[in-house]
């Protein structure tokens, strides 16, 4: 197998913001998640309110990727683990937490609708929405949705999301949230 093209990591470096503290692309496997989670708790923000919030957001968005990403890693033959990208940025007054993953075209509309609905609600309505989703029996609720509601509540900022076309079957879903320091 020959490489399609040479990869120069310099171009990867230049598209990331200067103040990135973690960037990761690969399977959202529990061993990797443990290390990143531990780093967030102990090192980023040193157990401050912000680090708690980042950790909360990290768990929900990482779980969404490991369960729902359309890009699958088959390193472990017994398990299918979702692949995605995660980038944490450190700014003067806030942190940014971004994740991205491949999604099937059919799943795009429900995701957009959910994010737009979440962004249209004030905090009290969002809490009510979370309670409604939580009270639904497991067969009727979608874990990814309550996770996104929790992310919006924890960050206290809108979900900044983008969809990019890949081909006829797949798109790329990118989400970014801001966590105030």
């Amino acid at each position: 197998m020959s490489l399609k093209k040479k990869i120069n990591l310099f171009s990867f470096r230049s598209i990331l913001e200067e103040n990135v503290i973690i960037s990761y692309k690969g399977p959202f496997d529990r061993h990797i998640l443990f290390v990143i989670g531990d780093y967030i708790k102990t090192t980023i923000g040193k157990n401050s309110k912000a680090s708690k919030k980042i950790f909360n957001i990290f768990i929900e968005l990482a779980q969404n990727i490991s369960y729902y990403s359309a890009e699958i890693n088959k390193l472990d033959e017994k398990k299918e683990i979702g692949v995605g990208t995660l980038v944490i940025g450190d700014h003067k007054n806030y942190y940014t937490f971004r994740t991205g993953n491949v999604v099937k075209k059919n799943d795009i509309i429900p995701i957009i609708n959910k994010c737009e609905l979440i962004n249209s609600l004030d905090r009290d309505s969002l809490r009510k929405f979370k309670r409604e989703q939580r009270a639904l029996p497991p067969s009727e609720n979608d874990g990814a949705h309550i996770g996104l509601i929790k992310v919006a509540l924890t960050s206290s900022n809108p979900l900044d999301f983008q969809i990019t076309n890949i081909d006829d079957d797949f798109s790329y879903f990118s989400i970014s949230v801001k966590i105030n320091k």
Binding site: L33, K49, N56, R127, R131, R134, G147, T154
Partner: protein, 127 residues
């Protein structure tokens, strides 16, 4: 009836510490909750409480000191609180204390949402 004790652990997943005492009715759930199989874990707790309610029928003092739980754990916690509420509605005596770090406004809000959802008299205790 036997007491239920689970030592919490911190690895790739977080298992909360559980100490449900069949003699005193004191039940503690603390630490962090992020599990590989959430319902399997919490079903044990629910079963223990149901057995206590059916057989021992004494007061339950339920203390929660969770500093973190993910959204799937939050559903299971709702099931526990609903069960305690139904025990109370059927004449059982309960007291629920929920301890949280004073500056953790997100956790305080979670407790308020549980009070709203369950109509249970949860004592919020900041520390």
């Amino acid at each position: 009836m036997e007491s239920l004790k689970i030592e919490g652990s911190h690895g790739a997943f977080f298992v909360p510490f559980v100490d449900f005492n069949a003699n005193s009715g004191r039940c503690e759930l603390s630490g962090e909750s992020y599990l590989e199989n959430t319902s399997e874990f919490y079903d044990k707790l629910l079963e223990w409480l149901e057995t206590y309610m059916e057989n021992i029928k004494k007061p339950i003092y339920f203390n929660i000191k969770l500093t973190y739980f993910n959204t799937s754990s939050s559903r299971a916690i709702l099931d526990i609180l609903n069960l305690l509420k139904s025990y109370e509605d059927d004449g059982g005596q309960i007291r629920v204390n929920w301890y949280y770090e004073e500056d953790d406004l997100d956790m305080e809000e979670e407790i308020e949402d549980y009070i709203f959802d369950t109509d249970l008299d949860i004592n919020k205790k900041a520390f």
